[in-house]
């Protein structure tokens, strides 16, 4: 049984070394075997999945996965479902600013197969997204969203910091999902995967704006 040390969101994380380190050699071998009709090595498989995230869930059907993330993997390989919740844990900074952006879905949700229920979640919890794109892109989503997101919002993440964005509010909720989106759009990597790989500085100290030296940078797995 395969025991990856990361959840399925790794498939949106654009760093192949992290795939190898966190999924393990056996998983990588199985991945290459299952995608060998479109790719010959791990780099090509990673590129193919990053460009077509919907293909990952289909290619891994029937795989037996255990380990600390077995529940997430079980849902993913049996039904192509990924939880829409935010994964990254951001150190607290007091922030009462409000952003009128309704984006309460993690980019990881791009991996979920587009059933009627999944479409509803997109439309309901990520309504702002559909001001910028007409439908959830299934091919090269990173490129599509990089072009589609408004510049002022991208700039906000870079100038004020992702942590600051994470603690702003949309109505009574924090914008943790939005912070994940901005981090992913800027770096092509998932913040919680970077946190697992101990790249905490890259995640939390954006431009030094929201640096909180006393904060404990820990990733808490669900």
């Amino acid at each position: 049984m395969l025991k990856p040390r990361v959840d399925p969101c790794i498939f949106l994380h654009g760093d192949v070394e992290d795939w190898v380190a966190l999924l393990g050699d056996d998983f990588i071998r199985e991945l290459v075997r299952r995608f060998r009709h479109v790719a010959v090595d791990m780099d090509q498989v990673a590129r193919y999945i990053l460009e077509n995230p919907g293909a990952a869930g289909i290619g891994l059907r029937g795989l037996e996965v255990g380990g600390p993330y077995r529940r997430e993997w079980g849902l993913f390989v049996e039904s192509g479902y990924v939880h829409p919740g935010a994964r990254a844990v951001w150190p607290y900074v007091p922030n009462d600013e409000r952003l009128d952006v309704r984006l309460q879905v993690s980019p990881c949700f791009l991996l979920a197969s587009l059933s009627r229920d999944v479409r509803y979640v997109w439309r309901n919890r990520a309504a702002s997204l559909f001001k910028w794109v007409s439908a959830v892109p299934r091919h090269k989503p990173l490129e599509v969203f990089r072009e589609a997101f408004p510049l002022w919002l991208r700039e906000l993440g870079r100038s004020r910091g992702y942590v600051w964005v994470a603690w702003t509010k949309w109505r009574d909720r924090r914008n943790r999902h939005l912070a994940e989106w901005l981090y992913w759009l800027d770096t092509g990597r998932m913040p919680h995967v970077d946190a697992i790989r101990r790249r905490a500085n890259a995640v939390y100290e954006t431009a030094g704006c929201t640096k909180k030296s006393a904060a404990e940078n820990l990733y808490v797995s669900s």
Partner: protein
């Protein structure tokens, strides 16, 4: 062949175009009951790609599942076989097919209409059009021109075939467009790109 529903798998059709089991069950009472048929391309390692017109669930009809096994190396051939069966034998329009399955199989080049956003297809068509026109004007390299326009013609033929199979009345629409193409152009400019 087995007298049961497929145990698990990825369905070739989009969920929205498949019938609810309760809906299908209403046709299966008495002696003249229908049989619900599923065709499965079973890839080694546990992936079954299933073609069927009824969603998985509690079904009141007898179900027959035909399975053919493929090795992982034959993934493209397996999915292509199912698409051929669905579109040619069962006359399912292309747009009812789940694009994620086509993407997984790496068949997007063969079926661009399934994979691509309609806006991308239209952009590709409009990008090809001036090239074709220019090549025709200067009359050089006719084989390149033919290749470029072939894609366009094939796609158009595929769309029109799908439309005609779905709705016989569409033949009348086609006839009118051929008689007066300017009217179509007016419609498009009035309603914008989203309606093309």
């Amino acid at each position: 062949m087995r007298w049961e529903m497929p145990q698990r798998g990825v369905y070739l059709l989009k969920e929205v175009y498949m019938a609810e089991p309760s809906e299908a069950s209403s046709y299966c009472r008495g002696r003249d009951s229908f049989v619900v048929v599923y065709i499965v391309a079973s890839l080694e390692g546990g992936l079954d790609v299933v073609y069927g017109r009824v969603k998985p669930g509690v079904l009141g009809c007898p179900a027959a599942t035909f399975t053919r096994r493929f090795s992982r190396a034959e993934t493209k051939a397996a999915v292509r076989t199912l698409i051929d069966f669905a579109t040619k034998v069962d006359k399912v329009p292309l747009f009812q097919i789940n694009p994620d399955v086509i993407r997984f199989a790496g068949l997007c080049d063969e079926y661009p209409l399934i994979c691509e956003d309609p806006a991308v297809v239209i952009n590709r068509l409009s990008a090809d059009a001036p090239k074709v026109r220019r090549q025709v004007e200067i009359q050089v390299k006719p084989e390149t021109s033919a290749k470029s326009s072939l894609w366009l013609v094939e796609e158009l033929a595929r769309i029109l075939r799908d439309k005609l199979e779905l709705d016989g009345g569409f033949a009348e629409v086609l006839k009118r467009v051929i008689e007066d193409p300017d009217r179509l152009r007016e419609c498009v400019s009035r309603h914008g790109r989203g309606y093309v």
